[in-house]
Symmetry: C2
Subunit: 306 residues, 2 copies
């Protein structure tokens, strides 16, 4: 009989549940997370979704949950989750496991994204570093086929490596992290600063990253400059990760990655300036392939490998 695992992607708006086999996603369900109603109703909705999935197909061997926020490992407790305050302190692995009658594990969503791409997407099973460019910049580092998490639990937090000394303030409290340039927050923050400074542009305070990308493609100089700055920060971060790990594969995912072509040249230039131990061309930089399904698939792979 085919083996399968459950993957859950707990998001602030929706929760996705997938039945995952050795070669990928078999079936998928989704339900509204309804963050304000807390964890009890969420567990009931989860069981319903899994029941719908389970009607056909192989019975899953274990369940993995991709969770936002700061986790207590290996227990799988959500310590702090800004977008899901009712989950703070919630023993997610234990409760999800109990509700579903399965062995359950929890890992953070960026790490699950990386695992998903590693096993089923652009990673093709190779060791890799994954940068997810979204509201922030998440990351995951896979060495020897396993996530690097570390005793402090910060392993793979690639968004907070130093890109520009004394640079823009980052949400984490430091200055000059790659996240403060190459995330939606970073790009729009730079836009607002430029608007405050009276820069000429077709963009305004309500512009989103997709507007920025359209403007850059249409020749708006400010928009192009902002993507250049994001690209340069990413290039510096890539050089750091290659120097530390010797990895030759970097995968770029997340919503802002749609604008990657606008950042490529600047990223390559910054990588070339910073990386001299090996030829920068040896670093293979690829776009992620799985889109929003990556965390779900990675969570299931994490449950399989545990």
């Amino acid at each position: 009989m085919t083996k399968a695992w459950l993957g859950i992607d707990l998001g602030g708006t929706n929760t996705k549940v997938g039945l995952v086999g050795e070669s990928g996603l078999l079936k998928r369900e989704r339900f509204a997370t309804r963050a304000d109603q807390g964890t009890g109703p969420w567990l009931r909705s989860l069981c319903e979704a899994v029941e719908k999935l389970g009607g056909q197909g192989p019975r899953p061997a274990a369940v993995g949950v991709a969770s936002p926020g700061v986790l207590q490992r290996p227990e799988g407790v959500v310590l702090r989750s800004p977008n899901l305050p009712a989950w703070n302190g919630f023993p997610l692995a234990r409760e999800a496991g109990k509700a579903l009658g399965l062995k359950a594990v929890v890992e953070n969503d960026a790490n699950c994204y990386a695992l998903g791409e590693h096993h089923f997407g652009a990673g093709q099973g190779r060791d890799m570093a994954c940068f997810t460019l979204g509201t922030g910049v998440g990351g995951g580092l896979i060495i020897g086929g396993r996530l690097v998490i570390g005793p402090l639990g910060t392993g793979g937090e690639l968004g907070h490596t130093l890109a520009i000394s004394g640079g823009r303030p980052c949400g984490c409290g430091a200055k000059g992290c790659v996240e403060s340039y190459a995330s939606a927050t970073g790009l729009l923050g730079m836009l607002h600063e430029a608007l405050d400074a009276g820069r000429e542009t077709g963009l305004n305070r309500d512009s989103q990253v997709t507007d920025l990308a359209k403007a850059a493609h249409a020749g708006d100089e400010l928009a192009q400059e902002l993507f250049d700055r994001a690209g340069r920060a990413l290039g510096a971060a890539f050089a750091n990760v290659v120097t530390f790990t010797g990895l030759d594969l970097i995968i770029i995912g997340g919503g802002v990655a749609h604008a990657w072509p606008l950042m490529t040249a600047a990223a390559a230039a910054a990588l070339g300036e910073r990386l001299h131990l090996v030829k920068p061309e040896r670093v293979d930089i690829r776009l992620a392939q799985l889109g929003d399904d990556a965390p779900l698939l990675g969570a299931a792979a994490f449950a399989r490998d545990i």
Copy 2:
């Protein structure tokens, strides 16, 4: 019968050979490398040294060589070694193995230093990052009990992580690497720049790092400032490594590490500025314990674990 392995530390001036057991160094020999005479005489001297060692004690199961320069792995060929030009292209693992009649492996000296401290020194078997402050800044990263080397072979090159954007030129070709501040080359380079700029100090162009340290202890403001700059660069590098790996143990070794107390405060300040994902106090920063024996011991451990 007790198990043992041979460790060899190939240096520009001397080569050290040690018989290493499960709990540490059993016996040690050394001979002049005589770099100008090439690899043939070196192999003969090696065999003599090993014969002296082998008269008593257990027969080694394998041999590990700590080599400077750039290596081709897993073959153990020395591709480029600035201080040992006659070794360029030398199939060190194969030839040393053949000469000694043992299975042989080669790893770079900074990685072996890290392995030595991991198994027998300050690392106590924990995963760790090791910075060796010498002529340059070397490094080694141990995750899951194994060296991180990576497909590009640059894993653990912690000396070339970004410390100061657009900072001092580094020997590698980049700017602002931690090596360009926290190595002997970096410290003395900064001294020479200050002398050129007419800074008042008791130091001069012939001063060495030990003179710098004495002057700093005696209150020389320039000397103190240079160690501060080195410390700040190290703190930024520590933050990068913790952010990437989640490691909670950093070990500082090498000749310049004797001046670590002069850099501690600045390193802690820079680490605190850059690291906000976890409390900086959770990062355990320790001095190495094995001194010059670390590469030898690490090379033997590498041979054991291969």
